[in-house]
């Protein structure tokens, strides 16, 4: 592994909301062109982790380096340059409902790169085709799509502008198993062909096994386990074991009332 020059390096990241401590000193390194999947229970702060790296949320403490450069506290032009490296698939898709689907996908091409509309549209429709959506979907409004279709549009929007790094927040949730596998293949292909660095979040272990070079598990605000994908079946970490086998009994306690 290229441990010397990580693409993304987090060290001791702490983020709280009021008295709620979400990230409690999180360390994580991701090498260039590596695909890392973060797993972890609902509400453990996986989405917060992604937003902290992007700078949408500001951690109270810790260091976040991209290409070796510190990125907490960027502003102005430097922050724009920082963001230009990323594509992000939001958990809730976050499509702009005032724009038709193709303009959502082509948003960055049109507004930031100022590409002409014809080329931008062609590229948007091409990317939509890669996620299994036909050109006529491009003319619809996001609110006319099913949840799974919205997710795929959001995925297309995340990768259309050839970013260096893409974050996928639950890319396959809400998709049927066949489409989920198509999306998994697409993510793998993006990483291999375009050489992007991918950080994904998923609850779907089949998907994690397929897209990850390395898997990291977030629990209690820290990464408690990380290793190559094939190692997850040979670990004796009780938290990880409980999670990947989906057992209610184990060290991870869910805050629910048992009947």
């Amino acid at each position: 592994m290229h441990r010397n020059a990580p693409k993304i390096a987090l060290e001791g990241v702490i983020k709280s909301f009021g008295s709620k401590h979400v990230l409690r000193g999180l360390d994580l390194e991701i090498a260039p062109q590596e695909s890392v999947v973060v797993i972890g229970g609902s509400g453990t702060g996986k989405s917060v982790l992604l937003k902290s790296i992007l700078g949408i949320l500001t951690p109270e403490q810790g260091s976040i380096k991209i290409n070796g450069q510190e990125t907490t506290n960027l502003s102005g032009r430097a922050y724009d340059d920082h963001l230009a490296k990323f594509g992000m698939l939001f958990q809730g898709s976050a499509l702009f409902d005032s724009l038709p689907v193709w303009q959502n996908v082509a948003f960055k091409l049109l507004q930031v790169q100022r590409m002409n509309r014809k080329d931008a549209k062609a590229r948007a429709l091409d990317t939509l085709a890669q996620v299994g959506l036909t050109p006529d979907v491009g003319e619809l409004s996001p609110s006319e799509l099913s949840g799974g279709m919205q997710k795929r549009v959001a995925l297309a929007r995340a990768i259309v502008a050839d970013p260096e790094i893409v974050f996928f927040d639950e890319p396959t949730t809400g998709l049927d198993p066949i489409m989920a596998d198509v999306i998994n293949d697409l993510i793998v292909k993006c990483v291999k062909d375009r050489g992007i660095t991918a950080l994904s979040i998923t609850h779907d272990m089949a998907s994690a096994r397929k897209i990850a070079d390395r898997i990291a598990m977030l629990y209690d605000g820290k990464i408690i386990w990380e290793g190559a994908t094939k190692e997850i079946d040979h670990t004796d970490n009780p938290y990880l074991n409980q999670f990947i086998h989906g057992r209610a009994d184990g060290p991870i306690k869910m805050q629910v009332h048992r009947l």
Partner: protein, 257 residues
């Protein structure tokens, strides 16, 4: 002691909100005068705020002018001064009622729409998505609304003024037996440019208030549908109150002699 703590806390919260709003207004201004400019967005907002508010503003000022003429007639006829009706209607509409009524109606129509739209974009992470797509949400969302409201409110009010005076004319001529050409000469004779322009300055200030309150509340809304509802209410109520206060202050300033 508890009471004092409560007062203190409320005061601090007020200061905090004022500070945050000032910062918001400052960012908006700064981004208004820097590149890039999203013309398409500005155009879209101009149509929405300017053109589609015309019926509302027109109807409001029409009936205000009509009622004004009736009321003035009731008052002035008591001391034989019904001749002054055209002038009073024209002054009342252009200086006060045109801008204020239009401002309040636009606060209800546009302020609420802005707060609800931006609020929904906030809670569905669309604003975060804008940021990750390297588009500044102030430039893309706030500035177009701010510019459209500030620049088009005077135009709306100018049209409202004409319609309002026309309302007074209708009532005076068809119900109070005024002579039509006499009414028009009276209006022209005594109406000064300053009467109209002062109202247009007010209109611009009110447009600014509506857009800023709508954007600020929408931008800072949280907590799902309920939060968006609260943001919308806040936007409209605070804009209306600010409009009335500003109207008083501007009247003092514009007509100081």
């Amino acid at each position: 002691m508890k009471f004092l703590a409560l007062v203190g806390r409320t005061f601090l919260r007020f200061l905090e909100a004022t500070g945050r709003f000032s910062l918001f207004a400052w960012y908006t201004l700064r981004h208004t005068f820097s590149l890039p400019v999203y013309w398409r967005q500005i155009g879209r907002q101009a149509v929405d705020i300017g053109y589609y508010s015309l019926p509302v503003v027109g109807l409001t000022t029409l009936f205000t002018g009509m009622a004004l003429a009736l009321q003035m007639n009731a008052g002035f006829s008591r001391f034989d001064a019904a001749n002054a009706i055209p002038t009073v209607v024209a002054l009342g509409i252009t200086r006060e009622l045109g801008p204020v009524m239009a401002g309040l109606m636009v606060a209800g129509r546009i302020g609420a729409a802005i707060a609800a739209e931006l609020g929904t974009m906030r809670v569905t992470e669309q604003i975060d998505a804008l940021v990750t797509l390297s588009v500044n949400p102030y430039k893309y969302l706030v500035v177009p609304r701010f510019l459209a409201a500030t620049l088009l409110m005077p135009l709306l009010v100018l049209i409202g003024d004409i319609v309002g005076i026309f309302g007074g004319f209708l009532v005076s001529v068809y119900m109070l037996d005024f002579n039509a050409s006499h009414y028009i000469t009276q209006t022209w004779e005594y109406l000064e440019v300053h009467d109209v322009t002062s109202g247009l300055w007010k209109a611009s200030a009110f447009g600014m208030i509506v857009a800023l309150m709508g954007c600020y509340n929408g931008f800072n809304s949280k907590g799902g549908a309920q939060g968006v509802g609260a943001a919308t209410t806040n936007a409209v109520v605070s804009a209306c109150i600010l409009i009335l206060i500003t109207n008083y202050l501007l009247t003092g300033i514009l007509f100081a002699s």
